[in-house]
Symmetry: C2
Subunit: 341 residues, 2 copies
DNA sequence: CTGAAAGCGCTAACAC
DNA sequence: GTGTTAGCGCTTTCAG
């Protein structure tokens, strides 16, 4: 593979002149430029990105870590980020933490080794200590959180308005006449989950209802945990007539639980899920869902990280909040019918 | 950020000794090693990957280019590749070509600039010339094709047994008694599409049936094209009683077309799709599908590229072929019922 | 066992 | 306008 040194020597000119034309900077006479360009083309020269990065101390690469490639929510987020970055002359490399703190740690370590100029992170579930230790792993590489964030952050974040989203979903249920509403949350030591719970409580309070701890169940984010938490909820003496499930996998689990309990949705139980996905409208019944602007989250996070890279110490930290949208389908109905059971 | 030079100077030892302990090679006395390790830990030293890559002329990174992050088939493929690579000490960076040759070209150019040690490619649809030009874009960086490949390749490939898959699917339809079977293919200048068509024809021939060009329609791979090709097919005078659709997006489109034509599946028309996906079982009706081992494809491709990197000129080229599996659901039935219409 | 030194390919002052 | 040169941080002979 041709190097710049080679080309320069073959042409009998200096390296820096060649470099100048490659990078389109500095003054080079038209004749010289033409000669060099010709040689470059002929040799099919492409600069060695590694050498360039070493020298420039930047890679024009952003790392993105998500908990699961296969979740279409993250797939859309990835695409949104990639879109923004590629049009800004950056490239994106993505990694899958599998909701595993250790893997996430490894990737952060990797991305911090000057391989990326910044990283966008959907933090995986973890203990409070692990969560607190996360930013340190980057040793200076700029970081922005997207979709999820620690409860208290001194970093940029890009989230949806989770409080409001849960508030609206709960209000929808209340409007339909539900009074006993359950919620299955994600781990509450991450802000989005905590905010969703807050929105839920706030909506109840707005109707003069107290929230009842026995209707509040914490899952992780897998189908399984949705199944088991739903089972607990609906085996309660005064079981809820509606439930808000805080992510898409758990929503599937909840649906399975309802089926196993022979509870018909929405006639006996109303259901709202979070994180809309392709299948949601195909499920039986089609599930009412809080839709998040996944691609926009990715793009906003990309924008935020580039801004942070340009000005690492900018204050205050940026907190982008995007709106969600309740997609009403057929899994929610008035509880009137459920009294008949 | 601490560099190896810093550490060495602070300790009053030579750089190479520190390097030896960092890389765990060469002879260093136990005492010296302990001292250095201590300092390394204290400084929270992590080698600069860029500098290391420049020197070693390898990056331990593999690039993977797929046509669409959001297609769960590719998401699973990505995960399979990542799995294999990370356990082999490599990392994966993935890019989304959006089925666009120009974007794919850009990424190949990027990956060839010594940023990756090899690339795994699901080639995007393109003209024959573009397809032929693809490997050259890598300028020497090892390449393996996965899922799709050019008709004639002098490179390693990892594919499923497309001919057999289509043969089995078609045979299933024939067994049910169908005689007029349509097929909606992907662009035929890629081997997988050509092979699927071949399997379809072979199955017909095995029953002494000639394939009829008017039942063969070429789409791309989007829902749209499935919709339109299906419309054409079922508006034919002697329209088919069954159809084989060669990917998952087009399968959705075909289903929509059937609905718009008021053709009931499977009573009036039987349908088999390719590339099983989460929603397939939830569709109405649940669609019979050819399931491909997506994660295994990814893993096999990862294995193949590492092998190729280790021995760039190994002959012959490797052609891994993985089996598929027909998942029979409710979109296929005997055409007996269809005579009633 | 440890150290000195060359150099991976490129960029960016700074001379000329 | 063009050339010289000093590194970026690291690995790797090769001496001692």
């Amino acid at each position: 593979m041709a190097t710049i040194t080679q080309i320069a020597r073959d042409l009998g000119v200096s390296i820096s002149t060649v470099s100048a034309v490659v990078n389109n900077r500095g003054y080079v006479s038209a004749a010289m430029r033409a000669r060099i360009e010709e040689a470059l083309r002929e040799a099919d020269y492409h600069p060695d990105q590694i050498a360039r990065s070493l020298r420039r101390r930047e890679t024009c690469t952003i790392g993105l870590i998500v908990p699961d490639f296969r979740n279409t929510f993250y797939a859309h987020l990835m695409r949104g980020a990639e879109d923004y970055l590629s049009s800004a002359g950056y490239r994106l490399i993505v990694a899958d933490s599998r909701e595993d703190w250790q893997r996430q740690k490894d990737y952060l370590g990797l991305f911090s080794g000057k391989t990326t100029d910044g990283v966008i992170l959907v933090p995986s579930f973890a203990t409070d200590e692990q969560i607190a230790a996360t930013p340190g792993l980057l040793r200076g590489t700029p970081l922005v959180y997207v979709d999820r964030s620690p409860l208290e952050v001194q970093l940029d974040t890009v989230l949806v308005d989770n409080t409001r989203a849960a508030y609206e979903a709960t209000a929808h249920l209340l409007d339909l006449g539900h009074r006993r509403i359950g919620i299955i949350t994600e781990p509450l030591n991450l802000l989005n989950a905590a905010d969703r719970l807050r929105g839920y409580k706030r909506a109840l309070r707005a109707q003069g209802l107290a929230s009842d701890v026995k209707y509040i169940r914490q899952g992780d984010n897998r189908e399984d945990s949705g199944y088991w938490r739903a089972l607990e909820l609906f085996k309660l003496p005064h079981s809820p007539t509606a439930v808000l499930v805080c992510n898409n996998q758990m929503t599937m689990g909840t649906l399975a639980a309802l089926r196993d309990l022979h509870l018909v949705c929405p006639q006996q139980v109303s259901l709202i899920g979070f994180d809309d996905f392709e299948c949601a409208g195909l499920l039986n019944p089609p599930v009412t869902m809080v839709r998040q602007p996944a691609a926009e989250l990715g793009a906003a996070a990309a924008k935020a990280i580039l801004k942070r890279i340009r000005d690492p110490k900018r204050q205050p930290r940026e907190h982008v909040v995007l709106p969600t949208h309740l997609v009403v389908r057929e899994s929610t109905a008035s509880p009137a019918s459920s009294r008949k059971r």
